[in-house]
Amino acid sequence: MSAENTEDKGLEYIRQGTGTADAKATGAALKRQAEELAKIGAEKKGGAAEKAKPAGDSPYVQVDRTLKRCQYSQDALIEVLHSAQETFGFLSDDTMKYVAHELKLPPSWVYGVATFYHFFNLKPQGEHTCTVCMGTACFVKRAGDIVEALEKEFDVKAGETTADGKLSINIARCLGNCGLAPMIILDGEVHARQTPESMLDQCKKLVKG
């Protein structure tokens, strides 16, 4: 079964699912489809996606838990999306469709919320992520030079991932550590008072592994 095919079917299920009596049945079917899709995705993307796959039978275990904890309340959408991003590293179309179905919201609504907030990624992230803070204090302390140096070295625009999928470079609005500007988060680790040279060194080391 090709990925396009399942996607179409997934949409079909959602259309049927909203407001019909057999919502439950289609829900289970959709879940199965989503699992299959996730499997295909994992095979396609190889290592990174495999790593992001949570333990358990369904890839949505964690999301389901959050859904149950929030009693499937539509107001909990942001929390559910947070939990989905934590599990998968980004929000794929299928994840959003799944969330939309479970919360009985139109997919456009979920997509609207996911794209409104900067924190949600709609594209998969690289193996390593480098987030450069560009808040006022970091800007005054020349964080812009760091971004420029990184963009040049790795031939990638800020907000994108290198072609080999090794490194994503992101820009943050403010990480609230302004006393130690400019600051960078490299794979979850905070580095304070950086220069373009020190940052290039560290990123090169990371990418080389």
Partner: protein, 568 residues
């Protein structure tokens, strides 16, 4: 929990502290952790264990001490002696502190913060009073420092009206930026009709260059919870939300632990202190949208939707979350409540200026020697903050401007350094108090570039609901980019000013009203820099790369470019 149990808990904690011959307090807030406080803590804990000193020496992780640029910080507290603070502590040095100072009572000679440092002398701590000495993850620690006495006093001795009156008397104004009188807001919500009322603490500090709310939540989470509970009692709410940025995982974690501990001790939840007052608190995560700092946008975000503002009236005080009356205050505002109840509104009103009472937390950052978090009385001058507390500008460079209020504020030039800081004075200078970010710029910053930076931020963060903000910020950014690359003409300055005024007057929410402030204030105080970019085609400080020409001159420019291209 009852009054007796609370007192017993406080007494037990104080006795426990007294039993130690020496206490080592490790600053454990985000800035110090990112400079290596975890290694210092581990080294101290291991060394204490290895030497079997558990009963004599206490190692506690505390909230923020203040001078973040000097971290990691370790404070040595011995009974009957003044505190000694060590700066830039490494794990090895921490073991030396333990061996020599804690055990041998010999103050080390290096890395000691001078006692008479103006950084501390000019501060007055109300909200952050306990942050440097208590463990944010321990309810006992907070109660030992006098915590929850205010809530107990309110529940046992005061009516909701009396609480509101006390806050009105204190003159406290909202610390999120607008400066609306807190007592008045509480009164509006208290009088609003509705069976169900909500309360929201705004911890969505999207303002770049500011981290006061983060520190308040990280350093003293119980203070925020107590303030919220008092407010809930005063206005009659039974459900509260704390809206925390997703970028602040430590703050959220500490708040979550604090809520759990408070619920277990029955000072949050049903029948607080055995009374009929019920109050629950949930945490809601933001997801990185600056506009959610605006109250109506925040409310829609709490309800899980796109964080877009809606027109007021109806004000949230009448119709907020799910159409119910909702009180919404900043986290720092809630931090002021317990001290006001404990010490009285009159005491608080005695601090500050005529119209702006109390203290304000500022995050000092940028080109300044002592970056960090400070709490100062209102009415202090900018000069005192920058040159006494901040220790001046590094590397002998000159002071150029102080940026207050983030993308909603403005740049204040050297000529106004002696203005006392309060809501009215800052507004008169074309800036705002904002949440309290204070970024200092030296004479190597180009003010046009700074204005462009903020406009780019506002354009990106504009939610797109109203036209003036969505289109206006884009058009203003376009002109600023033209000025920065040299293709602007003098007419553009007039256009910029006119458009700024229009966006200010016609936008839907606070983001739009204030987004032209950085441009208008730099145009007002640094107009010659704009003119140098346009007339002389140069950036006075050499930040902008002026390579383009205005459209009208392109015909003259083209032959030159063609010649150059042919040559190369």
């Amino acid at each position: 929990m009852t009054r007796e149990e609370l007192q017993a808990m406080a007494q037990k904690e104080q006795e426990k502290r007294k039993a130690f011959s020496c206490r080592l307090l490790v600053c454990y807030s985000t800035p110090c952790i990112s400079s290596g406080a975890e290694g210092v803590r581990k080294a101290l804990v291991d060394a204490v264990k290895a030497r079997n000193l558990d009963a004599e020496i206490d190692v506690t992780c505390t909230g923020c001490v203040g001078p973040c640029s000097r971290g990691p910080l370790v404070t040595v507290r011995r009974a009957g002696q003044e505190d000694v603070i060590y700066e830039n502590v490494t794990p090895e040095f921490a073991v030396q502190i333990l061996a020599k100072h804690a055990l041998g009572n010999e103050v080390l000679t290096s890395n000691v913060l001078p006692k008479d440092l103006p950084f501390f002398a000019k501060q007055l701590k109300v909200v952050l009073a306990n942050s440097a000495s208590i463990d944010p993850e321990s309810l006992e620690s907070y109660v030992g420092a006098g915590g929850y006495t205010a809530l107990l006093k309110v529940l046992e001795d005061m009516t909701p009206e009396q609480v509101v009156d006390e806050i009105k008397k204190s003159g406290l104004r909202g610390r999120g930026g607008g400066g609306f009188p807190t007592g008045l807001k509480w009164d509006l919500v208290r009088k609003a009709k509705g069976d169900k009322k909500y309360l929201v603490a705004n911890g969505d500090e999207g303002d770049p260059g500011a981290y006061m709310d983060r520190t308040t939540m990280e350093s003293d989470p119980f203070l925020v919870l107590e303030g919220m509970a008092i407010a809930a009692y005063a206005v009659g709410a039974d459900q509260g939300f704390i809206y925390v940025r997703a970028e602040y995982p430590l703050a959220a974690e500490r708040l979550r632990k604090a809520i759990k501990m408070a619920e277990k001790a029955e000072i949050l939840g049903n029948h607080i202190f055995g009374s009929n007052f019920n109050f629950h608190i949930d945490i809601r995560f933001g997801a990185g949208a600056f506009v959610c700092g605006e109250e109506t946008a925040l409310l829609t975000s709490v309800m899980g939707r796109r964080g877009q503002p809606y027109p007021r009236p109806p004000f949230p005080a009448n119709s907020g979350l799910w159409g119910c009356p909702t009180l919404i205050n900043n986290v720092e505002t809630f931090g002021n409540i317990a001290p006001i109840i404990n010490r009285g509104g009159d005491w608080y009103a005695g601090i500050g200026t005529e119209k702006s009472k109390g203290t304000k937390i500022f995050a000092l950052a940028g080109e300044i020697n002592n970056t960090g978090l400070i709490e100062v009385p209102m009415g202090i001058t900018l000069r005192e903050v920058v040159f006494d507390i901040g220790g001046g500008i590094p590397k002998g460079a000159g002071f150029k401007a102080a940026q207050t209020g983030g993308p909603s504020g403005g740049c204040i030039p050297a000529a106004y350094l002696d203005t006392p800081i309060d809501y009215e004075n800052l507004a008169a200078l074309g800036s705002i108090m904002g949440s309290g970010g204070l970024v200092i710029m030296n004479d190597r910053s180009c003010m046009v570039d700074v204005a462009r930076f903020f406009m780019d931020f506002c354009r990106d963060e504009s939610c797109g609901k109203c036209v003036p903000c969505r289109v206006g910020t884009s058009q203003m950014l376009r002109i600023l980019e033209k000025i920065c690359n040299g293709s602007a003409v003098m007419d553009d300055l007039e256009k910029l000013q006119e458009m700024g005024k229009m966006v200010q007057d016609t936008s839907l929410c606070g983001l739009g009203f204030t987004s032209p402030n950085p441009v208008l204030s730099t145009l007002r105080y640094f107009r010659e820099e704009y003119e140098a970019h346009i007339r002389e085609r140069r950036c006075p400080v050499g930040v902008c790369q002026i390579k383009e020409v205005p459209l009208a001159e392109l015909m003259k420019e083209l032959p030159r470019r063609i010649r150059e291209a042919a040559k190369s």
